[in-house]
Amino acid sequence: MIPLHQDERAVSITMGYIMFSAIFIAFFVIVLMSADEILVDRPSSVVMENEFSDIGNMMATTLTDMYLIAPDNGRIDTSYTIPITIAGEYYAINADTATTDQIIEIVSSSSDRTVSVTISGIASTMAINGTALSSSQIHRISYDSRK
């Protein structure tokens, strides 16, 4: 009997090539199928989450700043810029529940992703309402003490 490490029967270069090819093809197919999830979906959901909360925080900061300097008799008007799409999706900034829930919601219009940001209780003394859609870039926040 030939010693084990010198026994080269049953070894075929062609067979090895086919086996390795099959393994690699299978691996490649698996990667390809999950590539969309790994490379597109997960990063875009992370980006969306971050950007939504960025925009929510921006709104909350601006509202709090306005609240701090709001005149007894008079008005404030300010404009702000938001990106039209975030991770390829349009969205809406919704402050309609601000007075009861003390939150601003940023809602994506195509997926059901929602991020809520608190506005530190200022809505109980200053009524906040309105909805801004991302289809235009420039929006306004207005305050009028007479209304």
Binding site: I69, N73, S79, T81
Partner: protein, 152 residues
């Protein structure tokens, strides 16, 4: 020496070159995305001129207080009434403040709308009503009137 086409040495150099090129492209793409995100997330909150507006009203309140005190003194040696002197002093203040804010690209308008006298002692000023407005292209602020109690 082998000619250029047949020379197959230097595989490691080629491979490392490719790796470095790909990683540079990746880093460049990531940095670009980070820059865009940073721009959008913080611009509006930083642009809101909270301090400028707060300074404007605080300064106007202080000036109205000191203008009143100064008006009482000037009234001793002048024929003009206290409200007239206050109005003149505050018009000067308004002019200078407008110039200062204009140098930052902001429009400021401050006017005296009413000097309200004490009902029991009509030589004493109770409050000064001022119209303050501010505009910097993005944000409009108006306080009309800002009622300033000056009866210390």
């Amino acid at each position: 020496m082998a000619n250029l086409k047949d020379d197959t040495r230097g595989q490691w150099i080629l491979l490392s070159g490719l790796t470095i090129a790909i990683s540079l492209v990746t880093v460049a793409v990531l940095l670009n995305q980070a820059a865009v995100t940073g721009y959008y997330s913080s611009n509006a909150a930083l642009e809101f001129p909270k301090e400028q507006i707060r300074d404007l009203t605080t300064q106007t309140r202080e000036t109205a207080q000191s203008a009143t005190l100064l008006a009482y003194q000037l009234n001793q040696s002048s024929n003009l009434s206290v409200p007239t002197i206050i109005t003149t002093l505050l018009e000067n203040y308004s002019m200078q403040t407008s110039i200062l804010y204009a140098s930052h690209g902001e429009t400021v308008d401050i006017r005296v709308s009413n000097v309200s006298m004490n009902t029991s002692n009509t030589t004493i000023v109770d409050s000064i009503w001022m119209n303050i407005s501010y505009y910097d292209g993005n944000t409009f602020y108006s306080s009309e009137p800002e009622i300033i109690e000056v009866n210390a």
